[in-house]
């Protein structure tokens, strides 16, 4: 089992921001969502675009519970691919457009002001 890697400091990633880092040769996007840290691969399944170079926002949903009127939800949790605007919730990995598409999400831990990426088991 390899050791956890320090990939950034908390100071480098204020709440509501994200950045792309290299983790063992793989590009990952890391996100600070309300003080919790998440990492997802920096690749969109659609056309292999650099997903995490996009912007974070909320998104629009409408269903019976909203009387079919669009509502803004998931504020601060949704990364939008800069190529064709596919959306993913970075806390769950869920693609908003396709229920069967999910990014693997890594929950990152903080140690002594550093953001740690878990080592391989």
């Amino acid at each position: 089992m390899s050791e956890d890697l320090t990939i950034a400091t908390v100071n480098e990633l204020p709440q509501g921001t994200h950045k792309v880092v290299n983790v063992g040769g793989k590009e990952m996007g890391i996100f600070n969502v309300n003080g919790k840290f998440f990492a997802v691969p920096n690749t969109c399944f659609h056309q292999n675009g650099p997903l995490c170079l996009g912007a974070v926002s909320g998104t629009l949903i409408a269903d019976e519970s909203t009387s079919w009127k669009p509502e803004w939800t998931q504020e601060g949790e949704v990364i939008v691919c800069p190529w064709h605007s596919l959306e993913f919730n970075v806390t769950s990995g869920q693609c908003i457009a396709y229920p069967q598409r999910k990014l693997p999400v890594v929950h990152l831990r903080v140690e002594n002001g550093n953001i740690m990426f878990p080592g391989k088991e």
């Binding site: 998104t59 079919w68 669009p70 509502e71 605007s85 959306e87 908003i96």
Partner: protein, 377 residues
């Protein structure tokens, strides 16, 4: 030599009709002349129909009643010398027998242009007169003739009232929504009462198009100089425009039990539009916040009638086409009899598919759509 008033159908029943096959034709036309509707129309609009009886009558064209924009040069015999109207239920039954058709869903002739009528009160009065006439003159017996209630887009509340009123009739099996030139398109929320009534009464809605290209619909195709181009484009495009309008307001998810059918546009456009909307969905999901998955899944649940069925040189291509959108379960036969471009069941039977798929397309899918599965053989 056949006479111009001959149907020319006799002795040409479907060649491959299977013993246990029921053929359902979801699009045949009755000829609702102003004189025929007059006794069924309320005042003062009965006076309009009276005045219209003096007007010259063309093919699907009576000024003030069915305003076909048809500036195409006519030539003798260009569309075949045969009868192109059906005036009575008895005549229709005979024609359908000659075509080998067991059950026919009746649509109007002139009121294919119903949405083009400008004055709402007049349009609603004509729709009500048509529905009354249809039920009384065409749907009085158990002879396989079934009706679609005309829902006037001009007044959605009146349309919903018509649907609820006639849904109780044993031979009313569908709702007809005039498709060409409708403005705004059918996805507009003003029409929600129409979809509510159809869903509540468990009647499928049929979007039926007609050759009509309006100066603003769509774009500048009114510049076409031939009926060839207008006919190629008008039918599928009017269906596509209304389909998109409904998708962008979430009609298929807001009315999840509503059964939707498109008539008289062929089927070649269906996989194309499904692929187009999925492509756009990737980029513009926020425009369609109602959907949790690719919107083509919703189109896959709709129904598409065959006529004017595409006729590629190699008919195997039609069999392949069906596989692209689950056509086996969503395509329903229609002849469009007695119109100029009608399809005989033979053309659909020629497509090289299994007998099981033939049974579905020629009848079983329509029986499911129309809630008539008891009519299976």
């Amino acid at each position: 030599m056949k006479k111009a008033n001959d149907s020319t159908l006799e002795g040409r029943q479907p060649r491959k009709k299977l013993k246990d096959m029921v053929i359902v034709d979801v699009d045949v036309h009755v000829n609702e002349t102003p004189a025929a509707l007059m006794p069924y129309c309320e005042m003062p609009w009965r006076k309009s129909l009276e005045a219209l009886t003096e007007m010259p009558q063309g093919y699907l064209n009576i000024p003030g009643y069915a305003q076909a924009v048809a500036p195409w040069p006519p030539f003798p015999n260009s569309s075949g010398q045969r009868r192109k109207t059906v005036l009575t239920a008895q005549e229709m039954r005979k024609d359908l027998d000659d075509l080998g058709i067991d059950i026919g869903i009746l649509f109007p002739d002139f009121f294919l242009f119903h949405a083009a009528l400008q004055q709402a009160d007049y349009a609603v009065a004509l729709a009500k007169a048509y529905n009354r006439w249809l039920v009384e003159q065409w749907l009085h017996s158990d002879n396989g003739l079934k009706g679609a209630v005309l829902a006037p887009h001009h007044d959605p509340i009146a349309a919903a009232t018509e649907i609820r009123h006639y849904a109780k009739h044993k031979n009313i099996k569908a709702v007809y929504l005039p498709t060409a030139m409708v403005d705004p398109l059918w996805g507009n929320r003003r029409y929600d009462p129409v979809f509510e009534a159809a869903q509540e009464t468990d009647l499928p809605v049929f979007f039926h198009s007609v050759t009509c290209i309006h100066p603003v619909f769509p774009f500048n195709m009114q510049g076409f100089s031939t009926l060839f181009s207008a006919h190629v484009m008008a039918h599928p495009v009017s269906c596509i425009a209304n389909l998109l309008s409904m998708l962008e307001t979430g009609v298929p998810v807001r009315f999840p039990k509503l059964r939707i059918a498109f008539t008289e546009a062929g089927i070649g456009w269906v996989p194309w539009i499904m692929m187009r909307i999925d492509k756009e969905y990737n980029e513009r999901r926020r425009d369609l916040p109602f959907y949790k998955d690719r919107p083509s899944n919703l189109v896959r649940n709709m129904f598409f009638s065959t006529q004017p069925i595409e006729e590629p040189e190699n008919l195997k291509e039609m069999a392949t086409l069906l596989t692209l959108f689950n056509g086996e379960d969503s395509v329903i036969f229609s002849s469009d009899w007695p119109h100029h471009d009608f399809d005989h069941p033979n053309k659909v039977l020629q497509i090289p598919v299994s007998d099981e798929i033939r049974r579905k397309i020629l009848g079983e899918n329509a029986l499911r759509l129309l809630n008539m599965e008891g009519a299976k053989r």
